[in-house]
């Protein structure tokens, strides 16, 4: 891998440059017998940066550009004249010839590819030589330029620190880039999806049955309401029925009643629930909880339509996973209520539980609600539990023993089947992703502003 070796070579050169420049700075400061502006190490870093940065930038650009240049020069060669005119076969033969020339492929599949191999090798060798030579020239030129500037009064430290500042700024811009990348990729594919399927049908249709349309036939229907309903049923209703009482009561018990020793043991234990990978929960839900719930429903409740992929199984397990989120948010909000309110209530003769129910919880309610909203946003974006334990059938049912499907299940389902990237099926996954992104974002913004306003009220 020439790229990697070249990279190591430049890194090695940079180290040598650092040592040399540092030595020179030391020596100069002794000769001139005056205090230099920068430490010798700064001069070393200055030379190393000049040596490595331009060369590595060029190397990155070159490795992105050179495959295109190689292909152009191959196409210009006489052997390329018998290639079929544009189309899939042409690109297939070209990429095969490229693989043959690299040695990643042993034998040719198309005979035309065999003929192109010499041209490919020649172009490869030519551009690789140019690339290596230019990189090394840049490295030496940069290094020499910087090395000649090493003098006692040269402000190497300021230059180096400016580079460090730029590095810091660029690193923190990656977060914005990621956000922009998410929004752009979701939006771009979603717009393409809505060119094929109307947005009204997608948002308000009640029939979800995407089909693989490899041969240009019927693409099925994309009414996402059953998916939204399934997501709400599992993530916002069943999971919250489990998580809110358990999380809230746990937080109240641990902060108000429990002995400090019990608290130091039980709090981390509850937090482990949030650290267990979701695939483990999913496996547990599918293997243990779902059959038990189905048997219970069939034998004791007489619900014969009970499915072994019930909404209840996925929802209950998801609720358990969410308990720590609810309890830690409730914990924080209860702690933020001023002690005077609590003391006042107790002084009036109220019992602990009356104080909690009538004073602490109402006072902390905005914070608790914010925590619940965050938990809901976490629950509806959760994927593995529902992929493994909830079903694929897009039912509109309020019966928790039946199977429903969710947005995240369908995203996984749509994108793991066929590989083509232009069918409505794959594009639909991005539209669902955009809806999920917007909804979780809104929930988070609302939750955080509620929590923030609540904190300010007591400060």
């Amino acid at each position: 891998m020439p790229f990697f070796i070249l990279f190591l070579l430049i890194a090695g050169l940079a180290v040598i440059g650092w040592v040399a420049a540092r030595g020179r700075a030391l020596q100069l400061s002794r000769v001139h017998d005056r205090r230099p502006h920068s430490l010798p190490g700064h001069h070393g870093s200055y030379v190393a940066l000049w040596l490595a940065l331009p060369a590595l930038m060029f190397l990155t650009v070159w490795s992105a550009v050179s495959p295109g240049l190689v292909e152009q020069s191959v196409l210009a060669s006489p052997a390329a004249e018998m290639l079929p005119e544009a189309g899939i076969q042409r690109t297939a033969i070209l990429s095969e010839a490229g693989a043959l020339a690299d040695g990643t492929m042993a034998a040719a599949f198309n005979e035309e590819a065999e003929a192109l191999v010499p041209a490919f090798r020649e172009a490869n060798a030519f551009y690789r030589t140019i690339g290596i030579a230019a990189t090394l020239v840049l490295a030496f030129a940069g290094g020499a330029f910087a090395f000649l500037r090493v003098r006692p009064d040269f402000r190497a430290r300021n230059r180096v620190e400016r580079v460090v500042m730029w590095a810091l700024l660029i690193a923190s811009l990656i977060a914005i880039l990621t956000t922009v990348g998410i929004v752009a990729s979701l939006l771009f594919e979603t717009i393409r999806f809505f060119e094929r399927v109307s947005i009204v049908e997608f948002l308000f249709g009640t029939d979800w049955s995407p089909k693989s349309a490899t041969f240009g036939g019927d693409e099925g229907s994309f009414g996402a309401i059953p998916l939204f309903w399934g997501t709400v049923l599992i993530g916002a209703i069943i999971a919250m029925i489990v998580a809110i009482p358990l999380g809230l009561l746990s937080a109240i018990y641990l902060t108000q009643y429990a002995h400090p020793k019990v608290r130091t043991v039980m709090k981390p234990v509850l937090e482990i629930l949030a650290g267990v990978p979701t695939v483990v929960y999913g496996y547990f839900a599918a293997l243990t909880v779902a059959p038990a719930i189905r048997d219970f429903a069939v034998n004791y409740l007489g619900v014969t339509s009970a499915s072994s992929e019930s909404a209840l199984a996925a929802g209950v397990v998801m609720g358990v996973m969410i308990i720590p989120f609810v309890s830690s948010m409730a914990d924080d909000s209860l702690a933020a209520v001023p002690g005077a309110m609590r003391d006042g209530s107790l002084a009036m003769g109220a019992t602990h539980s009356e104080t909690i129910k009538r004073v602490l919880v109402p006072a902390a309610l905005p914070g608790i609600v914010g925590g619940v909203l965050l938990a809901v946003s976490r629950a509806i974006g959760e994927t593995m539990i529902v992929v493994m334990a909830a079903g694929l059938a897009a039912n509109m049912t309020a019966n928790p023993f039946e199977s429903v499907t969710t947005v995240t299940v369908q995203i996984v389902q749509l994108l793991t089947g066929d590989q083509e990237f232009n069918s409505s099926k794959t594009l639909a996954a991005f539209a669902l992703g955009l809806v999920l992104f917007i909804v979780t974002l809104l929930l988070n913004v609302v939750a955080l502003s509620v929590v923030k306003r609540f904190r300010e009220a007591y400060e």
Binding site: R157, M165, L168, A171, S172, L173, A175, I176, T178, T179, G181, I182, S185, L186, P245, G247, L249, Y253, L254, Y257, V269, L270, I272, L273, G275, V276, P277, T278, V279, V280, G282, Y283, F284, A286, L287, T288, V320, T351, H352, S353, E354, I356, S377, R378, I380, G381, E382, M384, V387, T408, I411, V412, L415, T416, A429, G433, T440, L441, N444, L448
Partner: protein
Amino acid sequence: MRDTVDPTPTDWNSRAMQKRIRARYRAEKRFKFYGLFAVLLSAGFLAFLLVTMISNGARGFTQTQIAVPVNFAASDLFLESSSLEGDGAAQALAGADFEGLVEEAAREAYGADGEDLVSPAAWLKVREAVSDDPELLNGEQTFWLQASTALDFASRGEVKGRQAQRPERQAMMARYERLEDADRVRRSLSQNFLVNSDSSDPTQIGIWGALKGSLLTMIVTLAIAFPIGVLSAVYLEEYAPRNRWTDMIEVSINNLAAVPSIIFGLLGLAVFLNTFHLPRSAPIVGGLTLALMTMPVIVIAGRNAIKSVPPSIRDAAYGVGASPVQVLSHHVLPLSLPGILTGTIIGMSRALGETAPLLLIGMRAFVVEPPDGFTDPATVLPVQIFLWSDELDPGFVEKTSAAIITLLAFLLAMNAIAIWLRNRYEQRW
């Protein structure tokens, strides 16, 4: 005025008042009990989950072996011990029909359907033994070979489930008991599980390939998320001017930390695979995707750690003439490093257990060879668990649970290190 104030003080000893107080104390006790019940129920669920996994998975680390006497001398293997020395050895070994030899030996020892008791891949062990010691070919030797899936399943004894009620299985269980009485079968620690990779035969599967894939993916994630996360934490906490750009950076980091993980999978699919054409199923793409997901966690932990370094230390350093970068690299970073590392380990442990985004970028392929580099097709441990959980063969159940135990052990170790770091090095100012 609706009612007039009663001038007499409340009589706390009256029967009605006593009753009311008792009721209030009962309510108090009940409420306390509800709280305790909620805590115990949550902890009980965790215990139930762990016990289920461990009781299912403990068997996954072992295998059933069956004794098969192989008579090389009387066999029709057409292989001489002399031909296994020198250059032609590998070719001679590859040409010999060890598969038939083992099947024949099993039939001889256990009757006409004897070959069904031995795993289809068991002959590899015999060939290896012969290659190590060609002298074996001149005599007879009893090998402990891996048992077939059916016999292995029968060795579990009575279990619930539809598969368990079949007559074949009942017959196999009776047979297993007879073999056990004759000391012809045993359970031993499985070497396969830790060194093999995925396979379609549950007796042959192992987690080495998935572990290696996880390791490579985590290396990429750490190499990208750690430097970027620390640098942006430093920038935001120490140098960022209060302006609209900084606000935008902060808002997007906080939002990224709350975006569902599957959205990062969509991003990885659209950007890394379809725009940059990086290889599918490769650890490098998985690592990049998880790095974007882990970075906000590191930034938030890093900012808290840097914030907790007292300003007096910075002021002292500036006072003796240090430059901003020197203050940072000589004082602030070393002091906040334990906090940053703790956050990093927690972020990495979350990334290690993540499945959904990796499904979307194709890391769910059936990968038989462990990956050799960052661009080879690979799978990771959580995805491997997901893939095995979909298999119908009952032999996969205990292997899946065993893989889960392995994953949980890794996560537990990482979290233990994080807690230890926090307790050992965290300074309170």
